[in-house]
C-alpha cells in the first residue's frame, strides 16, 4: 500500500484515493500539421517501460481531483517525490547517486529491459526483415 503525498492537499493519503495515469511529461507535438505519422504514433501509443526511476502522472481522484506527478522507482516501489503539474522533477535517473539508483535494480546487459531474457527471444524482438 502506497502512502502518497498529494502536493495540492499537502498531506499523505492512502493509495486507494489515487489513480495512476501513466507516463508523465508527454509533450504534444507543437506543429500537428507537419508532424510525421511516426512522431504521432510515438506520442499517442509508445511509452517508456523503465526499470528504475520513472516519472508518472497520477490523479487524486477521491480527494482534490487534481493531477500531479510522482517520481517512483518501478523496481523497489520507492516514491522519491511528488510534484505539481507544470513543475520539473528534482530526482531523475541521471542525478540520483549511483548507489541509490542501483538499489534493488538488476541492471540488464545489452539493452534488454527484462533480466534473464533468453537469447532465443532476441529473434522475436527484431523487426521483421522485408
Amino acid at each position: 500500500m502506497f502512502h502518497i503525498h498529494c502536493p495540492y492537499c499537502d498531506e499523505y493519503r492512502e493509495e486507494e484515493e489515487f489513480h495512476p495515469r501513466g507516463q508523465a511529461h508527454l509533450a504534444r507535438p507543437a506543429t500537428p500539421d507537419t508532424t510525421t505519422d511516426d512522431e504521432w504514433g510515438g506520442y499517442l501509443f509508445f511509452r517508456d517501460n523503465e526499470r528504475g526511476i520513472h516519472h508518472e502522472l497520477w490523479v487524486h481522484s477521491v480527494g482534490c481531483r487534481k493531477f500531479f506527478n510522482i517520481t517512483r522507482n518501478t523496481a523497489t516501489y520507492e516514491i522519491h517525490e511528488t510534484y505539481k503539474m507544470g513543475e520539473r522533477p528534482s530526482v531523475t535517473a541521471e542525478n540520483l547517486p549511483d548507489s541509490q539508483h542501483q538499489s534493488g535494480v538488476q541492471a540488464a546487459t545489452s539493452g534488454w529491459q527484462t533480466v534473464g531474457a533468453r537469447p532465443e527471444s532476441a529473434s522475436l524482438n527484431q523487426e521483421e526483415q522485408v
Binding site: 495540492y8 492537499c9 499537502d10 498531506e11 493519503r13 484515493e17 477521491v62 480527494g63 482534490c64 481531483r65
Partner: protein, 210 residues
C-alpha cells in the same frame, strides 16, 4: 453580470421536496435505544449546497461580501459565519463547497454572480445531489474510525477541518465544524448505503436517529 441563465430549483416552498434519505426512512425503523446512546445520527435535510470554482483571488472579496466569512485558502479548512449558519469549505485549490440554510441558495448564487461580474468562475447548485448528516455522541469517533482510512484522531483532525475521502466503499466529505459533533456530506446515490453502513457500525454502541 454574466449572461448565465439561472433558475430556482426549489421555488416558493420546500413542499414535495424529498431528502436523499427519503427512501431509507421508509425502510429503516427509527432507532431509539434507552439511556445514553453512544452515537446520535441526525440528517440536516434540504440545505443549500453550491459548488464554487475559480481562482482564490477572484472569489475572495465576493465571498466575504455575500457570505460574511473569508474564503478558506489553506487546504481542508472550513470557514463559517459568526452564527454558524453559512459555511465554505476548501475542496481543491480552485474549488469550494458552500453550504447555506435551505431556500437561501438561489439568492446567494445570484448575489455571488452579481458580485463576481464577468470574472472567470463557475457556480453550480448541487443541493439536490447531496445531504448532510451529523454524528455526535461519545462513540462517534469510533464509528468514523471503522469507516474511513483517513486519520480522524483529534490531533490530526482539529475543529475547522474537512476532507474528501473514502467512506465505507463509497466516498464522503468528513467535516468537524465544532468540538461536539462531526458532519458527513454524502451524495444522493450513496446516501442509503452510507446511512445503513452507519446504523450497522453504530449498533454496538447504541444509536438514535432523528
Amino acid at each position: 453580470m454574466s449572461n448565465i441563465q439561472e433558475f430556482d430549483c426549489r421555488p416558493d416552498s420546500q413542499q414535495g421536496a424529498e431528502s436523499s434519505l427519503h427512501w431509507s426512512y421508509q425502510n429503516q425503523k427509527p432507532r431509539s435505544p434507552g439511556q445514553n446512546p453512544g452515537v446520535q445520527i441526525r440528517e440536516h435535510a434540504l440545505l443549500g449546497h453550491l459548488t464554487l470554482r475559480g481562482g482564490a483571488i477572484v472569489l475572495d472579496e465576493a465571498v466575504r461580501d455575500v457570505l460574511g466569512t473569508t474564503l478558506p485558502s489553506r487546504p481542508h479548512a472550513i470557514n463559517q459565519n459568526d452564527a454558524g449558519t453559512h459555511s465554505i469549505q476548501w475542496i481543491s485549490p480552485d474549488e469550494w463547497l458552500v453550504i447555506v440554510p435551505g431556500g437561501e441558495e438561489f439568492s446567494i448564487e445570484a448575489q455571488l454572480r452579481k458580485a463576481l461580474g464577468d470574472a472567470h468562475f463557475s457556480i453550480v447548485n448541487v443541493s439536490g445531489g447531496q445531504t448532510v448528516l451529523t454524528l455526535s455522541g461519545e462513540k462517534a469517533l469510533e464509528v468514523l474510525m471503522k469507516s474511513t482510512s483517513y486519520d480522524v484522531h483529534p490531533l490530526a483532525f482539529p475543529v475547522g477541518k474537512g476532507v474528501t475521502t473514502t467512506f465505507g466503499k463509497a466516498t464522503a466529505i468528513i467535516r468537524r465544524p465544532a468540538e461536539d459533533h462531526w458532519e458527513l456530506v454524502i451524495r444522493r446515490s450513496f446516501a442509503d448505503y452510507i446511512y445503513r453502513w452507519l446504523l450497522d457500525a453504530s449498533a454496538e454502541y447504541g444509536v438514535t436517529t432523528s
